[in-house]
């Protein structure tokens, strides 16, 4: 799996549970190193061993941990760049949801060897959506759940998210938009970022 994905888990664990916990996890996974490099690609089984060691160490279901990783990616101030990139998707939450169709392509523009599985948004009724997550990266839908939840807070929208049964490996997240302007949300200036 791409180093950026492994590193996201690493950053989440270190930020939430501390450096020592992460070192213990990496010892337990027996990979012979403690740090993932963001710009290198790692074999699938190394990521799998790291994830199962994380699950054992934190004593929580992996799905739950991955959802927290998704939330962490958007809401942690150290990762402001990623939140900004997602906010470029649209001026409100609905526009953002529609921009998810382009997310894998947008990601590839930024980091050419980071291939994310396809996403497809289906608008079933006003305020009612389904997001189809194609297979390819295990836990992708769980991380997306966390991202969707945190981005709703970011835009100030009130949403209900639910992961429904997967069909043929395609995982489905159902999104109910209760209110678009529920809260203030966080500011987004196009040019606020100093380069």
């Amino acid at each position: 799996m791409h180093g950026l994905i492994n590193r996201a888990v690493q950053a989440f664990v270190i930020n939430t549970y501390g450096e020592k916990r992460w070192n213990d996890i990496m010892d337990a996974s027996g990979l012979g190193f403690t740090e993932f490099e963001a710009m290198l690609v790692y074999p699938e089984d190394q990521s799998a061993r790291m994830l199962s060691a994380t699950e054992a160490s934190l004593e929580r279901p992996l799905a739950e941990i991955l959802e927290d990783v998704g939330t962490f990616l958007v809401s942690n101030p150290q990762l402001e760049a990623l939140r900004r990139l997602l906010r470029f998707g649209g001026v409100n939450y609905v526009e953002f949801l529609h921009s998810l169709d382009d997310l894998p392509d947008r990601t590839r523009l930024a980091v050419s060897d980071l291939r994310l599985p396809g996403l497809e948004l289906i608008e079933q009724a006003p305020g009612q959506f389904e997001l189809l997550c194609q297979p390819g990266v295990p836990g992708y839908a769980q991380v997306m759940m966390g991202v969707l939840r945190a981005m709703a807070d970011d835009y100030g929208a009130l949403v209900i998210l639910e992961q429904t049964e997967s069909q043929d490996g395609v995982e489905v997240i159902s999104i109910t938009l209760v209110e678009t302007e529920f809260a203030e949300g966080r500011a987004f200036d196009l040019g606020a970022h100093s380069l």
């Binding site: 950026l4 490099e37 963001a38 710009m39 290198l40 760049a81 990623l82 900004r84 990139l85 470029f88 001026v91 947008r106 523009l109 930024a110 980091v111 200036d189 196009l190 040019g191 606020a192 970022h193 380069l195």
Partner: protein, 338 residues
């Protein structure tokens, strides 16, 4: 026929940075994004050239000239702070009613977005500016991650070089490696001879023919030393022109003496560097690990060094074994005449 107001209304939607000017060159109306640029200043009714300084093409001096530029690229700069640069294109309106000018920020868009606090609503939905801003940020973030990786790799490379056991010029072992071998032999209770070799007249080669010649000589010297010793022996370059040979299991002084003189003889053969001939020699001092009850690496190196300088004092191109009497001689004022 479309009125000016109809045209302005339509243009506000698809090119929010347009300016419509009348036949006399005054601004009739402009798109909504330009409101953020003008601030408190009123542009409508003002001469176009009072607001925009046309920088290229330079031949354009009058409103009449401006109309002649139809379709070609124009470079403007705002006359008011912060003097933002813009690109533009002009199309004359029919029947001499004036002109339609569409503007864009070009490459200065990054500054403009910040200076004027622009949002995505300030750009037409078909405008690629937002995608460009996205790309700039995405690439900057990815570049930063790569830069961090490069810094870490650079640090790791330096650390690896510091831990390296090889002298990069000659391919021989370095001082670190020699210390390592020496300690391994001593700890393992093995017998060995330690020969310290220093080149004679090497400095003259360096001074006369330069460092490139010096380096070539050192490489040739290394090849000769490897050639004259056994595979299991350790040959290390421990200083500029200083070498240490560790010969395991050979304690016969006669054979060691033969080896030293064979080595010196080989080193005295002229070494070709381009058209030039380099002539050097060498002196050597040897100590046996069996001469000490409990061999000590630092002590052995010191004794080999003392024997080497005794050999130098004896007139160069000599080889000597360490004897305790040499210590007193080494303290004499004319010692260390390398």
């Amino acid at each position: 026929m479309m009125s000016f107001d109809d045209l302005a209304g339509l243009a506000n939607k698809i090119c929010p940075m347009h300016v419509i000017i009348g036949p006399d060159g005054t601004i009739y109306s402009h798109g909504p994004t330009l409101n953020k640029l003008r601030g408190a200043q009123e542009w409508t009714g003002q001469p176009f050239f009072d607001i925009f300084d046309l920088q290229r093409p330079r031949w354009v001096k009058t409103v009449g000239d401006l109309m002649e530029t139809a379709g070609s690229k124009l470079h403007f700069q705002l006359r008011q702070e912060p003097h933002t640069r813009m690109k533009g294109v002009l199309v004359p309106l029919p029947d001499g009613q004036g002109a339609f000018v569409n503007l864009s920020f070009g490459i200065s868009v990054l500054d403009a977005v910040r200076d004027f606090n622009l949002t995505s609503q300030d750009f037409s939905p078909t405008d690629l500016t937002i995608e460009m801003l996205y790309l700039v940020e995405a690439k900057s973030a990815a570049m930063e991650a790569s830069r961090q990786l490069n810094l870490r790799l650079q640090g790791a490379k330096i650390a690896a070089e510091e831990q390296a056991f090889t002298d990069t010029l000659t391919g021989l072992k370095n001082r670190r490696a020699m210390d390592h071998v020496l300690n391994r032999l001593i700890n393992g209770g093995r017998d060995f001879a330690l020969m310290h070799i220093d080149l004679d007249f090497f400095k003259q080669v360096n001074d006369r023919l330069g460092h490139a010649a010096g380096d070539a000589v050192l490489q040739q010297v290394a090849a000769i030393m490897v050639d004259c010793t056994r595979k299991a022996d350790t040959v290390a370059r421990v200083g500029g022109d200083e070498f240490v040979v560790i010969i395991e299991g050979l304690m016969d002084p006669n054979r060691l003496n033969d080896l030293a003189y064979r080595l010196i003889a080989r080193l005295e053969e002229p070494i070709q560097f381009g058209a030039e001939e380099c002539r050097i020699s060498a002196s050597a001092g040897t100590v046996l690990s069996t001469s000490m009850a409990e061999p000590d690496a630092a002590q052995l190196l010191h004794q080999a060094d003392v024997a080497l300088y005794a050999a130098k004092r004896a007139g160069r191109a000599q080889h000597m074994f360490y004897t305790p009497q040499m210590e007193a001689e080494a303290l004499a004022p004319d010692s260390k005449s390398a």
